[in-house]
């Protein structure tokens, strides 16, 4: 099953390598990864989308917690959360396709952020289903280039708790 794990880390060099290395060394998969500083510039949030059965996810959580510079690990999938992804999609637009591209973008409330005589670049932000639906609709027009940010996620306020399933001793506060 897919899990979205938020990892709050100290904003020091080498931390991302340590976290990523932990995944590769133990054969865990990273489906997407995003990193940026938080409100507190001394910390960064790493959002990792990964997959595995319960024991693997439990190991991933524990291994992440073990890293000295990791301050907090939350498996958002166990809470009510919002996730978003942004994609920039450069589509071929032959003259007869330009209207179609605009129409599709409109339907998804996506923006055309750049245009050239032969291409449009479309920006979309949304959950994964929405982004993928748009990509699928644009595919027949011919996608020249596609860049995705990977997912970021945040817990909804009312349920912003750490899962009761895990023993408290295993978590860092």
């Amino acid at each position: 099953m897919e899990h979205i794990i938020s990892v709050l880390v100290e904003n020091k060099f080498g931390v991302l390598a340590r976290v990523a290395g932990l995944f590769s060394a133990r054969g865990y998969n990273i489906e997407s990864l995003s990193v940026a500083p938080t409100l507190d510039p001394t910390t960064s949030m790493i959002t990792i989308v990964t997959a595995g059965d319960d024991p693997i996810i439990e190991q991933i959580m524990k291994q992440l917690n073990k890293v000295v510079e990791v301050l907090k690990v939350v498996d958002l999938t166990e809470t009510d959360f919002l996730d978003r992804e942004t994609a920039l999609i450069k589509v071929h637009t032959k003259p007869e396709h330009r209207d179609e591209a605009i129409r599709i973008a409109d339907i998804f409330r996506a923006k055309i952020v750049d245009s050239s005589p032969t291409t449009y670049t479309i920006e979309i932000t949304g959950d994964v289903d929405k982004v993928e639906a748009l990509i699928n609709l644009l595919r027949p027009l011919g996608i020249r280039e596609l860049i995705r940010t990977g997912r970021i996620a945040i817990a909804r306020e009312t349920t912003r708790t750490i899962s009761p399933r895990r023993e408290p001793a295993l978590l860092k506060s």
Binding site: E10, R18, P55, V67, V68, K172
Partner: protein
């Protein structure tokens, strides 16, 4: 007053109470070595190879419980300690390794003797840091020692660029460490401990399974108390040996791949497993799906990742083994039931184990032609009156030593368990001898392992470290040869070490006393003479090249599926001298 980075380094080590540093100099650490030679508090043990330094520091740390300190140069100096770091990481040995680095303005330029020390060591250290500013040096060193020694111990690497060691900063050594993301759990969850105690009291066929965590936690007394008040037998992993006296009536010796028949049978049929600072390694569990099939599992470990990593735990307890066992023993003592009742409850189980033990004890047959490795180690055990620090290398001799040298005290058994590093034993023995100059320190090794770090004989002589090397010489990578005989139709691919040096002459070349025993009747006198000698000794003892180590759980087998002796076809081959002929004629032997 401002001090240079090199002075700060030495001052910080002084504050940490470090007396010994193992290392080897090089370009970018010259400033630090220059400061080291102008003071008397910290002694440098100059090794002949950086790998030797790392294993010596490991031996020192394992024997003392204090951190081992390594100091080497950049590039090859650092890459040469990687094996030691990986070994220490697997076996949770507290090391602090200081590596030199090229000046900060050169980092990343492929400078002379540059390596990405932090990048290379990241997966084999508990933590590592590149110090970019001399003002951070003292704090970083303080944190390094704290991280290495606390929680589950492990190696920490501090990378010091050349300019950081020469630049100056105000020196103030911090009193304490506060790391936001690092706070190991020490005392266990009370509810879980109580629940475990309740299961322990009820269990009819319980086992205590102790790993290396018990040694570093100093929990020998607590384990003994737990075993004695509950009358539960104790088995130890290779790393746990010494945490419970091997001669105690409740001691079952080592378990796992080369554990005793009675031990593994007891594991298989137990109804409660109390795992203490052990991590359910594959060499211990064998086939996981058939490991302890009937047992409830209590798992005590300071490292949450060890729990439920490979095997389930019904009652996980995260915490320091000593602290948790103390809490548990208090509860157990307060519970109902007197000593006689407890004895009566466990009696059938202990009787059953005893029957298993009598049915298939450890055994070997000594003849007059060639010494058996078991015989040599048994004699050694008797002659040293059970009182020695023993370091081993890796392979058959290690398993024989684990079976026959029944250590009675913690921190007297130094071996490479997790990584299985050949070449570990001799330098580790030297490190332990450095810490305890008056004690008898043995290195049980083989011709294969010893040749991987024999250069440290020079270190032994120079630093007057009178380690007694007992080299069990069978002319083979013995464990490899055993597997080839059992699973690869006896093709000796690269396991035969035909062209061996003359170990006595080799020892003499280094000014080490060399002795040799070629016949079983010479073993006793050589051991006696060697043990009596004041300085370092190398005893080259010729043993049966085709002796195999049993019991053995073949890889992927379950605990009740042990091989207890050579299979019939191998016995046949042995009798007919087929193995010997094969070696002489070079048939199936690589290199021929």
């Amino acid at each position: 007053m401002k001090k240079t980075g090199a002075d700060i380094f030495v001052e910080a080590l002084r504050h940490e109470g470090i007396k010994t540093v193992f290392g080897l100099p090089g370009g970018v650490v010259l400033k630090i070595f220059d400061v080291l030679c102008q003071q008397k508090d910290i002694e440098l043990v100059l090794t002949r190879h950086e790998q030797g330094a790392a294993h010596m520091a490991e031996g020192y740390a394992k024997a003392t419980g204090k951190p081992g300190v390594v100091l080497v140069t950049s590039g090859p100096g650092m890459t040469n300690i990687v094996t030691g770091l990986a070994d220490a990481y697997m076996d949770s040995v507290p090391l602090v390794a200081f590596t030199g680095q090229v000046s900060t303005n050169l980092i990343g330029n492929d400078a002379f003797q540059e390596a990405d020390n932090v990048g290379i060591s990241r997966p084999c250290t508990k933590h590592n840091v590149l110090v970019k500013d001399v003002n951070d040096l003292a704090q970083t060193i303080k944190e390094a020692f704290y991280i290495a020694m606390s929680g589950r111990p492990g190696p920490v690497l501090v990378d010091i660029p050349k300019d950081v060691s020469t630049e100056k900063a105000e020196f103030k050594y911090p009193d304490k460490v506060s790391l936001r993301g690092y706070n190991p759990t020490i005392s266990g969850n009370k509810h879980q401990i109580k629940q475990a105690a309740e299961e322990i009291v009820k269990a009819k066929k319980p086992m205590i399974y102790v790993g290396g965590g018990a040694i570093f936690s100093d929990a020998a007394d607590e384990i003994r108390e737990l075993a004695e008040i509950t009358q539960i037998p104790v088995t130890m992993t290779l790393m746990g040996l010494g945490s419970f006296p091997g001669t105690h009536p409740l001691a079952l010796g080592m378990l796992g791949m080369h554990g005793g028949y009675w031990t593994n049978m007891a594991m298989h049929y137990s109804d409660l497993l109390i795992a203490v600072g052990a991590r359910f390694d594959d060499r211990v569990t064998g086939k996981l799906s058939e490991f302890c099939p009937e047992a409830r599992v209590v798992h005590i470990d300071i490292d949450p990742t060890s729990i439920k990593k490979t095997f389930h735990a019904h009652i996980p307890i995260v915490g320091d083994v000593k602290a948790v066992l103390r809490q548990m023993n208090v509860i157990l003592r307060s519970m109902d039931g007197n000593a006689a009742e407890v004895k009566a409850l466990r009696a059938p189980w202990l009787k059953q184990i005893d029957e298993w033990k009598r049915a298939h004890p450890l055994k070997y047959k000594q003849d007059s032609k060639i010494a058996k490795p078991q015989f040599v180690i048994e004699r050694l055990f008797e002659l040293t009156k059970h009182d020695a620090i023993v370091a081993t290398d890796v392979g058959q001799h290690q398993m024989f030593a684990a079976q026959y040298f029944k250590g009675t005290k913690p921190r007297t058994w130094l071996t490479s368990g997790g990584l299985g590093t050949m070449g570990f034993g001799f330098p580790a023995a030297l490190g332990a001898q450095k810490a305890f100059p008056e004690k008898l320190v043995l290195c049980i090794t083989s011709e294969g392992s010893f040749q991987m770090n024999l250069q440290e004989m020079a270190t032994a002589v120079e630093h007057k470290l009178p380690v007694k090397i007992v080299l069990l010489n069978n002319g083979f990578h013995g464990m490899v040869r055993q597997w080839q005989d059992l699973f690869y139709e006896g093709r000796y691919s690269a396991s035969y070490l035909g062209k061996l040096p003359d170990f006595v002459k080799l020892a003499e070349a280094y000014n080490v006393l060399g002795l040799r025993a070629e016949k079983p009747r010479e073993v006793e006198s050589v051991l006696k003479e060697g043990l009596k000698h004041k300085g370092p000794v190398l005893m080259d003892i010729h043993i049966d090249p085709f002796e195999n180590c049993y019991p053995m759980i073949p890889a992927g087998g379950a605990h009740h599926e042990m091989m207890l002796e050579d299979p019939p076809e191998l016995t046949q081959a042995k009798k007919g001298g087929a193995q010997k002929r094969k070696v002489e004629e070079g048939e199936g032997v690589l290199p021929a």
